[in-house]
């Protein structure tokens, strides 16, 4: 469990974090979302002490990070940066095992672990481990960045806008990789993004940050259905109009609870209604299951119709 208690950070000319408190549960995929300059990255960096708060406390499992040896603390936390930030003088294998080298893992154990993770992110170890970062595409580099962050089996992984520089196709693939990895590992992931699609697609819970203050914390459904204030609803308003997600369909009140014996392809809240339509088309069943709710083909038609009415009312 990560507790941020009354965290305050002042720079000379600005108030980056304004007495902000937040709790992140073990095993959560927790997304910090907000426009640029909102303080979300600063908040993330207080967790591994890349940023030292002016006042307030950050505790991991009840232990104040200010009281721990900063290098030992960081070696136990995975970290993924915006651009991958692989060291250009090291091979992929060397980059991936930076933390393991510093933790003095034996060679063979390192090799096995890295190969396993490379496979998990969809990179063939035989093919990629000997390469230099300059020989990788942006998506490949960021996959290696993820392998590097997960190598030491950390209980906590911090990701700072890891996919913002990627093209939409790579971004989607990598988001899926993060979802899959999160399901298979029991790590807590704290993920920073300014992209609400990404937030809605990935998050167990979302924290909306603006002007150094916490605006709302909740599940994607809660945030979409009950925005706490005008800022939150505006921030997600764009979402209502264009790419609709299943989370929003549920938030609009559609779907019924799953009954024993219900069949249907499992989908996640972050997937769009277009993916829903495609799934229904290719499936022999006329319903899908999202988060303990059953959504039928009628729900799809009704939801689309409701958007039209909503459009009229605007």
């Amino acid at each position: 469990m990560i507790e941020l208690i009354n965290v305050n950070k002042e720079y000379q000319d600005q108030h980056a974090l304004d007495h902000l408190s937040l709790t992140i549960n073990d095993g959560e995929l927790f997304v910090l979302v907000g426009p640029s300059g909102s303080g979300k990255t600063t908040l993330l960096k207080t967790i591994n002490r890349l940023v030292v708060p002016t006042s307030g406390q950050v505790k991991i499992d009840g232990k104040d990070v200010a009281d721990t040896n900063v290098q030992e603390l960081r070696r136990e936390i995975g970290y993924v940066l915006q651009t991958g930030a692989l060291f250009p003088n090291m091979t992929v294998a060397e980059n991936a095992s930076v933390q393991l080298d510093n933790l003095k893992w034996p060679v063979e154990k390192k090799r096995v672990r890295i190969a396993e993770l490379m496979t998990a992110v969809g990179l063939d170890p035989d093919h990629f481990l000997g390469r230099m970062p300059s020989e990788l595409s942006g998506g490949e580099a960021q996959r290696v960045g993820i392998v590097r962050a997960l190598a030491s089996k950390p209980g906590l992984v911090l990701m700072d806008e890891p996919f913002s520089a990627l093209d939409p196709v790579s971004r989607r693939q990598l988001q899926q990789i993060v979802i899959n990895l999160h399901q298979n590992l029991d790590s807590t992931i704290v993920f920073v993004t300014h992209d609400m699609h990404e937030a809605l697609r990935l998050a167990d819970r979302i924290a909306v940050v603006h002007d150094g203050r916490l605006q709302q914390v909740g599940t994607p459904t809660e945030i979409l259905s009950e925005p706490a204030n005008a800022f939150v609803s505006n921030f997600f308003a764009d979402e209502q109009q264009t790419d609709q997600l299943l989370g929003q369909v549920l938030a609009a009140g559609f779907g019924r609870p799953v009954q024993p014996g219900d069949l249907g392809k499992k989908m996640v809240k972050g997937q769009s209604i277009f993916e829903w339509a495609t799934t229904l088309q290719s499936s022999q069943l006329d319903q899908v299951i999202v988060d303990n709710k059953v959504l039928t083909d009628h729900d799809l038609i009704d939801y689309l119709a409701s958007l039209e009415t909503e459009g009229d009312s605007h």
Binding site: Q71, R74, E76, Y79, P88, V98, N102
Partner: protein, 514 residues
Amino acid sequence: MKRKVTVISQLISYVNKNHSDLLQALWQHISISIISMLITILIAIPLAVALINHRRIGEFFLQITGIIQTIPSLAVLGILIPFVGIGTVPAIIALVLYAIMPVFQNTYAGLTNIDPVLLEAAEALGVTPRFKLFKVELPLAMPMILSGIRIATVLVIGTATLAALIGGGGLGTYILLGIQTNNNTALLVGAILSAVLALLANWLIEVLAKVPLKRLGIGTLVLVIIGLGGTLGNKLLKPQTETVVIAGKLGGEPEVLINMYKDLIEQNDSNVKVTLKPNFGGTSFLFKGLQSGKIEIYPEFTGTILQTLVKGNKEVNRNPQTAYQNARDEVDTQFGMTYLKPMAYQNNYAVTVRQDTATRYHLKTISDLTQVAGQLSGAFDPDFYQESNGYPGLKNTYGLHLKSAKTMEPSLRYEALANKRVDVTDGYTTDPQIKEYHLVVLKDNKSFFPTYQGAPLMKNSFAKRHPRIVKQLNRLSGKISVSDMQSMNYQVTVKHRKASVVARQYLVAHQYFN
């Protein structure tokens, strides 16, 4: 075209004749440069690393190293002499001072310009400071560091030619020799070799920069081990020998003399090895070298000792024997040095005329010359023209009043005489041009010129420990006539034959080895 061909063929024959000395100078040049660069790297890189996190002090050091760079290298050498003396040490210190700036500046710039995202990544992954420095920062700054080392190496190889000025050896010796003796071939050989060396080093570093660091480290280690092993093996295999260092002033004559010393000493005792340092420098350099123990013997003139080295009475007695005794006693009491017995020839000032002038006016002595002086014109070295030991003294003592007398560069006055543009010049009795142009030296029948006789100079302690060497060197006392020396100077300076060969020929011809 023809001229070009002669220059090149001259160069080739010069290199052929002197190749072992050239190789030695080249090796000396390389070792001075390598040692200077190693010291520079050991200072500049750790300093830059230490200052990455202290930017203000770092900027301050950048300024300081920049200022050092603006001091002329000659001035640095001059400043260092009182503190560390002459030879290789001050040369290396000066070179290190020069080389520090490019290496420090590039290392500092390379380390401070690393992408901050990469540094954040290293921080965030919790790497040790050691890992961060050696696996991240230094490798990323390496291209900049290497280019700094490259710039500094080229600079050092070029500036190392100045080491010759203070007895540090190297290729500069040939450049200096070339300037001193008006020998363009020697000058060119020295200049070309040092330029080629600089280009080669530049290229080599560029190539080595592409080799992975680990392999480079192993390679260096192997080379060092081979080098150490070789030196050690050499030391163990060779019998215990003593090395005696003998130096000489600039020019051909001292070089011939010290080669004779070497031959005499080594022929007599195979356990003594003589190292020669020809063209080592001017009088005061050599004398300081002798005092500090850098060199053990050098040939000096009686007149120079009395006029330049000893304190007190500067008069040089007109009687050569008295002059020698005075010089011997003064160096002994003032400096604790032994001055062995002099050779026969005197390297005095001389008044010379062409053969045809001498025949026409029946000239044998300077007194003879005064009779016809009104019809003859003269050209003199500027010093000779002014000194009381020169032309003004001749006027007083002999009443010599030439029709006209002007000053002329020393190297030009013989040519002017040979080309009949003047009739009388000054010179030194052993000058090779006297032989080259078949000139006549007029006898100083009133013993006006001070006497300059050469003999080996050494510390008393050295003489006491090496009676055999003293005995060998004394075999030259009273030997070598003016015409012998003149002809040997002619062989070396005009014909460009090797001094060691000329010296050996004299000793063999005069049965020194029987």
